[in-house]
Symmetry: C2
Subunit: 542 residues, 2 copies
């Protein structure tokens, strides 16, 4: 069987219908084979960073995303996007072409070569959970399976390098190994369950804090059932935003210590038992370490184990614990539902602040089949107050340039919903040109450009500086040159009118430039700035 | 002394007046300090790949280029650009911010973190000649000096990672080490010289083949003197294009085996002694191994040694040999000057082929103070027939996206010349948005866009395929949206008229879109395609 055909079969088995890529000469036969394969499509972006972000978004939605690039100039241009997928636990498989095995004279100065034929593999080992350079037809499929199984199991990226002369080589297909899935240890799970239950039972104000792994391990439906049956309020992290539906009566907000939702903070910090499900205590999630949790009151379950107070059950996974809690015939207790959230403050009609943009989105897009992809900066932090049930954003690793390619990746992965990208001008300048790819694909993405003419987040954390100022292209003309429709708005009212119009036009790729006065930040970003300045003053004093 | 001030001093000492970068929170104090430093300027680009290419171009012109980026999302987005600088031997210094030493709890989940605090250093070790993560104020300067000296000496990129709390820390400045410069071994040089001279003496048709290291080690003036005194014709490689002035009567063309200049091929392949100076036998330079050299007739000098026929003098460098040849009181012989090159064929007036574009450039821009930066694809291969004395192009590693940022980097490095970027539409979609940075800097670059609506080089080497087709933005409108002037031309006559106009307008950033019929390639690219197809047929047969 041709090696690439075997891979296509495995991709399709995992629900993959699109392979993101950028062709290059060491990988041409792969792209040609892909074009011939029924049931799976190549999606070509403009630059490798975008390829990586699009595959990452697709992976977050569908459980596997594939990025295919050429050796050297291609793959080494996607290291950062892959690193983000690693840090944020997104099941991305990177496929790279490579020179023919037959041409591997160690002294051959082939183009795209850095130091030697192993340089790229060594780089990718630093940013993936499993990596292999195929070099032997006899074991090619077993090695590729090992990497693919690792990606599917751990949700960390994997890397497979395929020499040009192996891509379409006939390789033997071994009897499929049963992949080495860890067996659930019932006794460990029971011991953990008993302790967790006892703690929830005696607690007067238990609450759930849910994070990104809920989405990665596809546990969002179970989370809703769990919260409802136990009557527990649910706050989520920023990197786990929308793992719990945000219009749900039990939803308490996005918790980020002092920086996030004040309501979520009240619920979680007054809870006497916090059940952390798939959440990681990153610097962003903790609001730069302003989160106040008493570890004695915390139960934290992630893929690698459950920690109760100060002790750990390494043999019980997040899923094990959630399954055990759901399998109980009768939940231990119900708490009262949350009081309804405070009504949003009326939007001032004059200034288009990031908060005002979010308020308009909440009013206009609520209940429509959309999803959001947010980029780093105030597009992300303002989203703390966005209400949605589908949201993608690099809330931990924080690489700029994610949103537009992510709208493409997730838009293809979830064709029933319309992508809305929230992106600052700095991030848009990195990968926004892939708007042209949306147009080419006929993908009716809506891009809300937060234009404050600066790297606003840096200015908010520091002081304004020349280096944080951004150039000022005519974004409307730019989007039109790429084949999109485009609008520029300066007030919340204008935004609302244009957004309604954009949502009605279901075929166009649309950019809406919101003109934000420089130095105007969302409430969460203002709190972030305050925390940073407080930390600086402290360290200057001490 | 503040660590960053020490570094600025060293940069200025090496002729650096601009630091290319993109700020991020782990490196903000560096950018602030840079803004305050007299005599050196931060230059902010839109995306890290562009930062790397701009610094690379600056390095090729001035002998050192500095690229400053933040940890993780910044530095890992510049791995490919740095790899290219390594492969093509460009003295780029990468500076990366990093989390404070004080915050290095191994479990701390800081944003931009991949696996652990050493991941990024390990990645950069694969693409640099020297790399260090500073962690000790006492040795910070000695370690930084070691890397900077390595960059200046070997012309390979270096990497220095600076924790945020060290950037402006007062560090002790040790007495400056004499850098460990290899001493010239006179006896080895004399032995090599004697043999080289004897070979040149008996040769009837000796010739020089000069490559990229001539420019890197700043030997271009010596090369001219050497060629003139010995009366030797000079062909250059593609990655060494313009290391010898191309209007010089001794210039024979860009040699690339069957693919390059037919005249250069005739001169070099009929020579009975080829003096290779700073040239590497890469796949591109050899025209995919169609170069025909009899090793018994070759003398090859590179930085790491001189090889005569089948034996090597590892203690004699390129510069040693050139110096020795120039120090002789009387050159051994003169050959006849080359017959003048054939007159260029008249340009057909109808179709705008890549060759026609080059012919127009040769007519209109000749003798003007311009330089060229070419991107991968036919912009690069068509340049085989371009006549110039300053040319930058990734002629070995071949990463797309180089030309526009390189025009910025080299434009700042060489303000007396106007940059002309030659770039295909695929490469322009990667980094062309930095036209907006040209506009912001007031840099009057001229970008000649070779628009064939495809990854034309891939189609030329393979067959047309859907995956090689490119989207078709309105490039004129796009350039205008970025603040540039823009033109679209469809015939050589139009191009000539517009180019004359562009060269007269000395203040604007200008894009000229040349509409090339898809499937139309330059003569060198057609020969490249023929070689690839012949190789494929051979391997299909055998």
């Amino acid at each position: 069987m041709e090696l690439c055909r075997y891979l296509f079969g495995r991709f399709k088995e995992a629900g993959v219908r699109h392979v993101f890529g950028l062709p290059g000469d060491f990988f041409l036969p792969f792209f040609r084979a892909l074009e011939e394969e029924p049931g799976i499509e190549p999606v070509i972006l403009t630059h490798e960073p975008s390829v990586g972000y699009a595959a990452d978004a697709y992976a977050r939605v569908r459980g596997l995303g594939v990025a295919a690039v050429t050796w050297g100039a291609g793959a080494l241009n996607m290291v950062n996007a892959t690193a983000q997928a690693y840090a944020e636990r997104s099941p991305v498989l990177v496929l790279s072409g490579a020179p023919e095995i037959a041409h591997r004279d160690p002294d051959a100065l082939l183009h795209h070569r850095v130091k030697n034929f192993a340089s790229q593999l060594r780089v990718y080992r630093e940013v993936t959970g499993a990596a292999v350079a195929l070099d032997d037809p006899a074991h090619a499929i077993a090695e590729a399976d090992r990497v693919i199984d690792s990606v599917l199991r751990t949700k960390r990226p994997g890397y497979i390098e395929i020499p040009r002369d192996l891509i379409r080589a006939d390789v033997p297909v071994p009897a499929r190994r049963t992949s080495d899935i860890r067996l659930k240890d019932e006794r460990a799970a029971n011991e953990a369950l008993a302790e967790v239950l006892a703690r929830i039972r005696v607690a007067e104000q238990p609450a759930i804090y849910a994070g990104a792994e809920i989405r990665r391990f596809r546990l969002h439906d179970k989370l809703v059932t769990l919260a409802e049956r136990y009557g527990l309020p649910v706050a989520t992290s920023l990197d786990g935003k929308a793992v719990f539906p945000e219009q749900h009566p039990l939803f308490a907000g996005n918790y980020l210590g002092e920086i996030g939702s004040p309501r979520a903070r009240k619920v979680l910090e007054s809870a006497d038992c916090v059940l952390m499900l798939g959440a990681r205590m990153t610097d962003v999630n903790t609001g730069l370490y302003t989160a106040r949790f008493d570890r004695r009151r915390v139960i934290s379950a992630v893929h690698e184990g459950v920690t109760v107070s100060y002790h750990r059950f390494p043999d019980v996974s997040l899923e094990d614990l959630m399954d055990a809690l759901l399998a109980l015939p009768e939940p231990p207790r119900r708490v009262e539902p949350l009081p309804p959230p405070p009504l949003p403050e009326p939007t001032p009609t004059e200034t288009l602040t990031p908060d005002a943009i979010i308020a308009v989105l909440n009013r206009v897009a609520a209940g429509r089949p959309v999803f959001y992809a947010a980029d780093v900066g105030d597009a992300l932090f303002a989203s703390v107050e966005l209400e949605t049930d589908m949201f993608l954003g690099p809330g931990y690793y924080s690489s700029m340039g994610f949103a537009v390619p992510a709208a493409i990746g997730a838009g293809l992965a979830e064709p029933g919903r319309r992508p809305i990208a929230l992106v600052g001008d700095g991030a848009f300048l990195m990968t926004g040109l892939d708007l042209v790819t949306c147009v080419r694909l006929g993908l009716p993405a809506i891009v809300i450009l937060f234009n404050n003419r600066s790297h606003g987040m840096l200015a908010a954390m520091d002081e304004p500086a020349r280096s944080y100022e951004l150039p000022t292209p005519d974004y409307v003309r730019l989007a039109e040159s790429l084949g999109g429709r485009a609008f520029r708005v300066g007030t919340p009212e204008e935004l609302e009118r244009v957004l309604v119009e954009a949502l009605e036009d279901v075929t166009a790729t649309i950019l809406i430039e919101t003109v934000i006065p420089p130095g105007t930040y969302s409430a969460p970003m203002q709190r972030l700035g305050a925390v940073v300045h407080r930390m600086k003053n402290r360290s200057a004093l001490g």
